[in-house]
Symmetry: C2
DNA sequence: GTTTTTCATCTGGGCCGACCAGTTGATTAA
DNA sequence: TTAATCAACTGGTCGGCCCAGATGAAAAAC
């Protein structure tokens, strides 16, 4: 049952699709500035010839790049590099960060945390003012999941980050604002990365403890206190990466 | 030059792509509840047969629906209708509102304006604190565009809404937060609809005047005043739709 | 009768080369 | 100088092919 070699593990080799290779190549050209905003791309046929990838795949790749906000395609006219500060969405930013190996710059981190205070802070205050017993039970159930993960010998950090994401999205869901949870979904990859780093930096227990702290504020309907706590924890995180 | 009929204008007929027709059909089925969360979709080959659209296009459409948060596709298993409150993004919401003829419910409007205060309010305060002369010039240039539109006999409302969008996104851009402008792009269809309604309700002049008012606060670095003004104008809009 | 194995069938993922219908711009005709 | 023509080029679509994993019923082993 065990293969001939079980000392050195090779690991899976996942073959990247031609489409993703093509998309990454173009993204790279754009983000490094080799292709500038307004530049026309070669036609799909030219790209087919150049890359030895079929036109269908090229076409699908270009459409994907358009959805990400990198290109502007006009049927039967061609594709040009879009001003992705104008047309870009969070997906564009996610692609940008992913291309940088998942690392955000300090400015991006600061921007992210500002956005977090703006959105989650607003949700938190609304929830404190309008919470019901059912909201408390809903959030407690998620905290219980986190506690169960902490009981294990080796804490599954990815799973804990996922639970923390669901908890904070839960705050947005229960704030009765239909937009806030959707915005958090938009941020999802970035937020997950953030929680992973936060777990590494401050430990699993500490992060779950902080989550419980917010629940206390919600219970006692202390909107101002909750907001101050959020601001403080963001400030602590920023200080920790500056040092 | 002029066709045989120039009294009644026909207007361009832009032929929708098969992919978009397919995507809209499925969205409709989901949003009207004919397909419920968890329901399995027919296989790509069945859909091909049923719709007479090739598998290539069907596949591309399903991938788009997954990105919009409407479907959850598992390779070699099939696609099921996703819980779009969980997986949805702003694109999902845009589709939902578009399907409703661009009309938001009162709760959606309230949610939108709360989100606007959270995001643009935060940007406004940051900008007031850190503005440069160049920021002022940048925003003044956009205001000039709006003024030019006002000079015309019949104000082009769609164009003005577009300029107002660019102005308020400009505030986010110049706030030096990389996330805020992208979030506004995400909202774009909703925001455009909002400005159109605001122009109808309060008039073109009044909306441009308010935009200039924000510029005053930014010039005098009055962050608190700017925020209060934003809150007030949102409140006025909410009152006007309640009445 | 119960468990295990086998294997035909179905799924989405990926790719290809050909064809379709609008756009464009130089050439031709008026 | 102007208008009509049309070949070349564009993105969009097509149907077919193969791949590898999932599925479940039939066959084999117990």
């Amino acid at each position: 049952m065990v293969g001939p070699v079980d000392i050195m593990s090779i690991g899976v080799i996942d073959v990247p699709s031609r489409k993703s290779l093509f998309v990454n190549r173009i993204e790279e050209q754009i983000l490094t500035g080799r292709m500038k905003v307004g530049d026309s791309l070669p036609s799909e046929r030219q790209l087919e010839e150049e890359t030895h990838i079929s036109k269908t795949v090229i076409h699908a790749g270009l459409v994907e790049l358009e959805q990400k906000g990198f290109l502007e395609i006009t049927p039967r006219r061609g594709a040009v590099v879009a001003n992705y500060e104008e047309t870009g969405t969070m997906e564009t930013l996610n692609a940008l960060i992913r291309l940088n190996g998942g690392n955000m710059t300090k400015k991006q981190t600061r921007s992210f945390l500002e956005a977090r205070i703006a959105i989650e802070g607003s949700a938190l205050q609304r929830l404190c003012e309008n919470r019901t017993e059912d909201d408390i039970r809903y959030l407690e159930a998620i905290i219980d999941e986190a506690d169960r993960l902490l009981e294990s010998e080796h804490v599954d950090e990815a799973a804990l980050a996922e639970v923390l994401f669901r908890y904070h999205r839960g705050i947005c869901v229960r704030s009765r604002n239909e937009f806030f949870p959707l915005l958090l979904n938009e941020f999802r990859p970035i937020i997950m990365e953030f929680w992973l780093r936060s777990i590494h930096r401050f430990g699993a227990v500490s992060n779950v403890h902080l989550a419980k702290r917010y629940l206390d504020f919600i219970r006692s309907r202390d909107a101002a206190g909750a907001f101050r706590r959020l601001e403080r924890s963001v400030k602590e995180y920023l200080d920790s990466i500056d040092g």
